[in-house]
């Protein structure tokens, strides 16, 4: 869609309003319930294993640059980095976008800072490899094998290269936890990784990990948004079944650029 139309605007507004309301409610101290996400419990185990083995951990934020998805990935990885700082593990974080380096460095440094270990943060462990998809994958594959990483955390925007990294890490026996909004890559991550979070669990992960009121509230708002969409789908099917294909709801939701 190139431009919004009234129906989309209304719906987006309703969902945004739900999210913001829930954020502010939660900030005022009304801590809501959220369920467990099984894959994320594995993060601490995986960090623990790397500590036992005394080998580094790979943190992989995907191919994105400074964008919403990659920042979300970084938020999850920053949590991992905190645990790494606590146990004194070395981390390796190859990035694929030069402009992302400062963001990554700030976030990881802060993770070390929060654990009072800022002196053990090594800026050169956040390294740029290449912004070309497969050169990057080749570099990461080499790193995984040479550094014999104990665990790999793959969170972010992945495309075909996901399997190259996941299989190489699998071959050297690394424990892997992964999550991505690229649905087409999830089957391969499931096949090669030990724990995979699916779909919008990716966006729920930080709320689950930090229990930060803002994030938890946002998660509740997201649920409301999804419920609204689901309800429209069900209503649409029922109305189309009863009234035929030329009904008001169908006409509302048909984008303008389709009609013109």
């Amino acid at each position: 869609m190139e431009h919004s139309d009234p129906v989309n605007s209304t719906l987006t507004f309703i969902i945004c309003a739900a999210i913001l309301t829930m954020i502010f409610r939660s900030r005022r101290g009304k801590q809501p319930f959220i369920r467990r996400i099984p894959g994320l419990n594995a993060i601490d185990d995986a960090v623990g294993r790397a500590t036992e083995m005394g080998r580094p951990m790979l943190l992989q934020p995907g191919l994105g640059g400074i964008d919403v998805i990659t920042l979300q990935a970084l938020a999850i990885l920053a949590y991992v980095a905190r645990a790494a700082a606590r146990f004194g593990n070395r981390i390796i974080m190859p990035v694929a976008d030069a402009s992302f380096i400062p963001v990554a460095e700030e976030a990881i440094r802060e993770s070390y800072n929060l654990e009072g270990r800022v002196e053990s943060f090594r800026a050169e462990d956040i390294m740029f490899l290449s912004d070309r998809q497969f050169a990057f994958a080749a570099g990461v594959a080499g790193l995984i094998n040479r550094e014999k990483v104990a665990t790999a955390f793959l969170f972010g925007l992945f495309f075909a290269e996901s399997l190259i990294m996941a299989e190489n890490a699998n071959q050297i026996g690394a424990i892997q936890v992964a999550g991505t909004p690229s649905t087409t890559q999830i089957p391969f991550l499931i096949a090669a990784c030990d724990y995979v979070i699916i779909g919008d669990e990716f966006y729920a992960a930080t709320a689950f990990l930090t229990r930060e009121p803002t994030l938890v509230g946002s998660l509740v708002g997201q649920d409301i948004g999804k419920a609204v969409i689901l309800l429209i789908c069900i209503l649409g099917v029922l109305i189309t079944t009863i009234m035929g294909p030329d009904n008001f709801l169908m006409n509302w939701f048909t984008p303008l650029w389709w009609k013109r």
Binding site: A107, E124, A160, L163, D200
Partner: protein, 283 residues
Amino acid sequence: MLRNMVDEIAAWFARSFPPQKGLTLWLILMGLIVAYVVIFFGLQLLKPRARKSLIAVVTFLAGLFYALEFFLPTELIDGKETNALTRFLVPMSEFAQIVAVLALGLGIYSLTMIHGKTLLRFRTGWFYSLTFFTFMILMATFGIMVEEPFSREAQINRDIRSILFVGGLQALEGTMFSIIAFYIVSAAYRAFRVRNAEASLLMAAAFIVMLGQVYAGQFLTNWLPTEGALSNLRIETMSDWLLTRINAPAVRAVGFGLGVGLLATALRIWLSLERGSYFDREV
């Protein structure tokens, strides 16, 4: 109304700040650089709270442009939906692109630090660092070099560039892409076991779709008729059914969740409500 306003501002800008040439251009550029320096040290005087607000405002305004461009009402002009801001879309993305490309130096710096240290101190693997530098410099040089169309040098330049690009980079990328074939086989072999219900379902679906895609699979059920009820048991029909009737709605449902999740995260970032290590840091 907004269109008129934007048009007027744009026209005023064009009138007041025309393109310059020669000395005037240089004077303006110099003046701007001086202004930057002044602003730079001015910014440093800000208190941490004000710094945070400044960052929040910049973030909000940058996002506001795209939000307004998308949500403001549009008119149909020359078969294209437009509103007052639409014509700034391309300049805006070019502007952002320049900012991002200017950051490339950070990447070069990162690579140079790692490989330069190894090389200068003759650490293990210095040869690979040398390889890296050699090929980077070769490619950048022969890539950028401007050539006269019909000279011997230009021909040599083109030949070397083609060796580096087609023979080198493209072959390497194609090979790295194709190596996934090996990994996909070993991943399938290892993961597709009838261990539990979930793994079995994953395997069964992959099996059917895989068979539906090749002659060998179609051959298995080729004796079934192409019409009528029995045709549903043909492997390619089953494969199509899985892809369209099971895969499609499942992926769509996941997409709804991803959409809302993305929206929520973007909203938090846009309005500077986000929490987490990067955003909690004092400035």
